[in-house]
């Protein structure tokens, strides 16, 4: 393997507390090393450039049945953005849901090297892995929808957390999953008969359990299994005006579960869960309340789910939410996709417009929360791709975060009622490169429990992003467009010790990337006997033996072994 020496760059590495210091980074065998022989190494002159670890996206829908259904139903969307084949890269289409190869290329062009797939129903996990295999240049992993899995509901209703933990351990292994994903707990099961739950204490029909019990139970399970990430939560009542109260109730419900001051849950796309006001007409921002709570507590992490004003496609496992969105009118397509015994799902194409009072305020809410929460280790940058906007809009989101001028430029074009309600004019905070590195790589890698990602210390994976930003000469808050361009087109992206992008163009598409999955070893494995298999046959329409994702489905497997305490 080639050795690489990145010389004289301004290194931004928050996990090692390095803030724009001029230094060299040496790479050998896909890892960051103390030094390499300069004569043998490929030298990158990074003088005047910013060097960061490769980006780690904590929540993005890039693969799986739901995503692909979204692709299938939107030919008019792809028609706008064809991507030509080159000698190095495969062809495809882009826009709101790029095809798999294009997903890999575009992430890489922005200096991202790892992506964590938002949600996958266990029954269709093979599909997600097949697609992940076709996303080149990225390390990846997928969260598994666990919150409405019947075995979880039944065991938690019984109060048997240990057995539940053993089953979840089996599930993670069987699906090659990375973390416990909970979407609208209890709501997905209720949607099986077209109903929903409306607070964290609403009973789930037929199962004698409440969303609160599901979430608390799975946090306990997560701890017992010693999972690298916390539970990954999409809250109840998502996208409903007034839901910030539900979100606060949810966060409060976990306070006692964090015993060591460490986070126990990650709430994803918080923007969609911070709405105030009784109805859409009285729609307001709940950002202040959420931020105030987050500033006073340390047991949660969040990601933004920022809206970027584009013609996109919303997709979530939250079936009832998508139907209520459809009922708001103005949409020509609605997809619902229930998965037996596990989950539901829905898709609606959605155009976020600046001149819509609600959409414009949504845009504001995402930024307000990100800026009002003081500690960047608590909130990460995402657009919940493609729900708030496509991932390749990240540079835009960054610009809004590091430049008040950028925010004002956009706010000027927004609907006047949103302008009036927005808190943004009162916020002067502009993020530094250091804080941006936390929100896009260091913080996410830490929250995901990946010791080798998100930093450039010795032993770290050689995933590096170099941007054409000179912190000494470029004031990013003023020249936000220049910096935005630099974030959109990395000067170099290095994946596993190989240069894959140069000047914003893919130069090597042959690095497949690894798939992380968690193998939590319980003291007693969950009992797989005839009784279990019979139950399985009753619950699902496929046989027990045909349920797991075999090694065949993971191109480059990276198993994370964990010792569980049950």
């Amino acid at each position: 393997m080639t050795e690489i020496l990145i010389k004289n760059g301004f290194v931004v590495d928050p996990l090692n507390k390095i803030n724009c210091e001029k230094m060299d980074i040496a790479i050998k065998n896909g890892k960051v090393v103390a030094k390499v022989n300069e004569k043998n190494a490929q030298v990158i002159d990074a003088a005047g450039l910013t060097v960061m670890a490769g980006g780690v996206d904590i929540h993005s829908h890039v693969a799986g049945a739901e995503v692909n259904m979204g692709r299938m139903i939107r030919p008019e969307d792809h028609y706008k953005d064809p991507v030509r084949k080159t000698a190095l890269t495969r062809c495809g289409t882009g826009y709101s849901i790029p095809s798999t190869f294009v997903t890999g290329y575009r992430y890489s062009e922005m200096g991202y090297t790892s992506v964590f797939n938002g949600s996958v129903a266990a029954l269709k996990a093979k599909h997600a892995h097949e697609e992940l295999n076709d996303i080149p240049l990225m390390d990846k992993a997928t969260y598994i929808l666990t919150g409405d899995w019947w075995f979880v509901l039944e065991n938690l209703a019984k109060g048997d957390v240990d057995e539940c933990a053993r089953l979840v351990a089996w599930l993670m292994r069987a699906t090659k999953g990375y973390a416990i994903k909970i979407v609208n707990p209890g709501g997905l099961e209720s949607w099986g008969f077209g109903r929903n739950v409306h607070s964290i204490d609403d009973p789930v029909p037929n199962f004698g359990i409440t969303p609160r019990e599901i979430m608390r139970g799975l946090i306990k399970v997560n701890k017992k299994l010693n999972m690298p990430h916390t539970i990954h939560l999409h809250t109840n009542n998502l996208g409903v005006p007034g839901n910030y109260q539900t979100t606060l109730d949810t966060m409060k419900a976990f306070e006692d579960l964090s015993t060591d001051g460490k986070p126990v849950a990650h709430i994803t796309h918080i923007q969609f869960a911070s709405f105030k006001g009784e109805n859409w007409g009285k729609f307001k921002s709940g950002a202040e309340e959420i931020a105030k709570y987050m500033n006073a507590h340390n047991h949660m992490t969040l990601d933004m789910g920022q809206v970027t004003f584009s013609d996109t496609t919303t997709m979530t496992a939250d079936g009832p939410f998508e139907f209520s969105l459809y009922e708001l009118g103005g949409h020509n397509k609605w997809v619902n996709s229930d998965v037996e015994t596990e989950s539901s799902g829905g898709i609606i194409p959605f155009h976020y417009k600046k001149n819509s009072p609600v959409n414009a305020l949504q845009w504001s809410i995402g930024l307000e929360i990100a800026l009002l929460i003081k500690d960047p280790w608590k909130i990460f940058m995402t657009t919940d791709h493609p729900n708030g906007g496509p991932f390749y809009d990240y540079p835009k989101v960054l610009a809004w975060l590091y430049s008040k001028k950028a925010r004002e430029a956009t706010l000027k074009k927004c609907h006047k009622s949103a302008k009036k309600k927005s808190l943004l004019p009162s916020i002067d905070r502009e993020l530094s490169l250091y804080e941006i590195a936390i929100m896009t790589r260091a913080g996410t890698a830490k929250a995901l429990g990946l010791p080798d990602k998100g930093h450039l210390g010795v032993g770290a994976d050689a995933d590096v992003a170099i941007f054409n930003i000179n912190p000494e000469t470029l004031d990013i808050s003023q020249k936000f467009r220049t910096a935005r361009k630099a974030f959109a087109n990395a000067a170099y992206t290095i994946k596993d010790g190989t240069i894959v992008v140069k000047d914003g163009q893919v130069v090597n598409s042959q690095i497949p990337g690894r798939t992380f999955w968690v193998d939590a070893e319980t003291k007693d494995p969950c009992k797989i006997d005839d009784e279990m298999k019979r139950k399985f046959r009753d619950y699902w329409t496929i046989e027990f033996e045909n349920y797991p994702v075999t090694d065949h489905y993971v191109k480059v497997s990276d198993r994370l072994e964990r010792k569980a305490s049950v």
Partner: protein
């Protein structure tokens, strides 16, 4: 003016989105000759397929001669000027057109004038399926402009029409004006089944025989109807409202004399 004459009969599809008056403006003949086109999988230049001549009349108008039924995407997105085709032309002619005029002295393929915004397309032969209808999955059809067809048209013509006017002298196929919300479609002769299906607005005027979907209800009988500022058609016409399943208020004007079968509707009037 540029004249393109097909050098040979074409056997595989040819895509020529480069043929628009704007694109030719300011280009020398040599530059026009090397504009990229594809013939099947081969990447060729315009000069490989057409004899290209220039007449100095101060315009960038284009004349195409020869049978170009396999030539697709002529005049795609054009904004000004004029294209005259002497012969047949293939699919997607004048797609997303925003102005100017296309005259086809022959038949036109499918998706002619698809998602058109402004301008005029005159077809002196037949037009194919999906004329003036949007691309797959899109619910935004023809926004404005005028399409006239002397011959017959295929199925699914004028789908999702949002304000364009389509006048057809011959017959029309099924699903005419599917899901249209505004604009007008006038067919002088017969229309196949399911005209106006799922329409929410606009009007369809039929001079010949037709069939009415069960999801339409009779409104009244009118002696004449106005298609656009230039065309008034004398009836009398049965006027149907629909499509009820979409709570629509579109109107279908069915010629009374040509459709004696609709007489039973009169009891509801």
């Amino acid at each position: 003016m540029i004249t393109l004459t097909a050098l040979r009969a074409f056997d595989v599809p040819i895509q020529t989105p480069c043929i628009t008056p704007e694109n030719f403006t300011g280009k020398s003949l040599a530059e026009i000759k090397v504009l990229p086109v594809t013939e099947g999988v081969r990447n060729l230049t315009l000069g490989d397929l057409f004899k290209i001549e220039e007449t100095n009349d101060g315009t960038s108008n284009i004349t195409i001669n020869g049978d170009c039924a396999k030539v697709k995407r002529v005049g795609q997105g054009m904004k000004t000027g004029e294209i005259t085709v002497n012969g047949n032309i293939g699919m997607h002619t004048g797609e997303k057109m925003a102005g100017g005029k296309i005259i086809v002295n022959g038949n036109a393929g499918g998706w002619t004038g698809s998602e058109m915004k402004k301008g005029t397309i005159e077809i002196h032969g037949d037009a194919g399926d999906y004329t003036a209808s949007p691309y797959r999955g899109n619910d935004l059809g023809m926004k404005g402009g005028l399409i006239t067809v002397d011959g017959n048209v295929g199925t699914d013509v004028g789908c999702y029409n949002q304000g364009g006017v389509i006048k057809i002298k011959g017959n029309a196929g099924r699903f005419l004006g599917f899901h249209m919300s505004d604009g007008a479609i006038y067919v002088e002769k017969d229309v196949d089944v399911r005209a106006g299906a799922l329409m929410t607005g606009g009007k369809i005027v039929v001079g010949g025989k037709m069939e009415i979907l069960p999801s339409f209800t009779i409104d009244n009988v009118k002696p004449k109807v106005k298609v656009d500022s230039e065309t008034n058609v004398a009836g009398p016409f049965y006027v149907f409202l629909g499509d009820l399943s979409e709570k629509g208020t579109g109107k279908i004007f069915a010629n009374k004399a040509a459709n004696p079968a609709f007489k039973f509707y009169e009891k509801y009037l």
